[in-house]
Amino acid sequence: MQMVFPYFNMPTIKQINAVFKASVLVLALLVNEVSASPSDWLMKINRAAAEVNFSGIFVYTHEGKLEVMQVVRRVDDGVMQERLYALNGEAREIIRDMSRVWCYIPDQNVGVHDFRQISESGFPRMVAGDFSKLSKNYTFTEGGYARIADRRAHQVNVIPKDPYRYGYILWADEETGLLLRSDLVDLAGNVIEQYMFVDVEIGIDIPDSALKAVSNKDHLEWFGNANPPISAPSTTSNWVVGQIPGGYQLSKHIRRMSPMEAGEVEHLVYTDGLSTISVFIKQAREGQSGMKGLLKMGAVNAYRDTIENYRVTVMGEVPAETVEFVLQGISYRQ
């Protein structure tokens, strides 16, 4: 005899699965809400940067100026393609993939094609080191939630433990981890640079057409090179970087031919997992000792001097004192 339920039909296996999955999702969201730590959020940001498709408009503020840009990023099976388009001012446009960059400057009738030099781990990540190492030099705190680009975003504060580096205030999309806003903060708490999405679609399909340049290419004179840059990893050097703030480790050491003038350039890259310091060393041309001193380009500080007839430049998104400190410890080993 078949039993008859008067009020509802027997759920199917498919329906049971759906309810189960929904329950797990709700539970996961609840657990995430309760237990996600700043390190979890940083990892989530890191993963999203490498895995998530998105299309949106963000503002970039620096030195009292505001720029508005459209960005599209597609990650397909680990292969990343991006398009960046300036929405105010001149219609400059950048298109890049994992190895190349095309720069459109139609207002000056110029285009440039370039090969990228990126780390072996792929395109740059926000968190390159593990969290325990980062914790030696930064304090991470929760900052609550905010609404950014009509999405719920979680705030993480990254506070440096010494004066050699800047701090960050980050807002990550709650659902995907995509970084929706990033403030670079100096030692006095002033925001030096800020990136913030004002409109974004995440996890969408990006058609090929969205990654093609929209700039008028008819009158551009193109510059570029048929071959990748000549560079090679280096393990030996006559140069000694005698002092570097705690937590910074050598992550890259390459030699390459300078494209600007004849001669080899030695490039050492140090990172503490969040910020990066570059050291460039190049032999000075005869009769030219170059300039000495501090340079500032937005959040980037650079200090340059001549040592043993070599032009040495230390550069990074770090305080001016840091680049000067590093440079003063550089010496030539006979």
């Binding site: 001012g89 950048i94 110029v110 990136y195 570029g224 300078s258």
Partner: protein, 176 residues
């Protein structure tokens, strides 16, 4: 010429044949002339910055103004494909950046940083360096090159690698 190169770039990804063509284009005389014009753009931007009267050290610019009419630095020596090979394409992109940085550097780097108490730091140890716009351009190119390369390894800001390019686009836009 520009149409030819533009056609290559339209395809976004260049195959081997196109790359060969690319190299050929870059090595010919017309491209060299274009290169000169390209550097001229930098001078134009520089002059615009100069006209604002606030971005660049008066001393530096007064020296440059005293120069006879030197509108562009000497063209890069790219007479054959071999020399083109030596050129790093990364640097060529940096050149695009440096067109901007002619102005960008003027926004602060070559000025004294009184606020930081580092007045003595911004001195040119060899005045010859800035005695001509050629040298000014050389320094600018060099910093543009370094900034672009550093940007590829820098992950300090939020948008993971796009930041460096956003800066370039932005900087160029703001200097119009």
């Amino acid at each position: 010429m520009s149409e030819k190169i533009s056609a290559l770039v339209d395809e976004v990804l260049l195959d081997e044949d196109r790359e060969n063509q690319f190299g050929q284009i870059l090595s010919d005389e017309q491209a060299t002339q274009t290169w000169q014009r390209y550097h001229l753009i930098g001078n134009v931007i520089r002059n615009e910055v100069q006209s604002t009267g606030k971005d660049l050290s008066a001393d530096i610019w007064s020296k440059i103004e005293e120069e006879p009419t030197v509108l562009a630095p000497s063209p890069k020596k790219r007479k054959d494909s071999k020399s083109a090979d030596i050129w790093s394409a990364a640097g060529l992109f940096a050149v695009a950046a440096s067109v901007t940085l002619v102005a960008v550097i003027g926004l602060g780097p070559l000025q004294k940083d009184d606020q930081a108490g580092q007045v003595a730091l911004n001195q040119f140890v060899d005045n010859e360096v800035l005695n001509s716009s050629l040298d000014q351009q050389r320094i600018t190119d060099e910093f543009g090159e370094m900034l672009a390369e550093h940007g590829e390894f820098s992950s300090s800001a939020g948008l993971n690698g796009l930041v460096a390019y956003a800066k370039l686009v932005s900087n160029q836009a703001m200097d119009q």
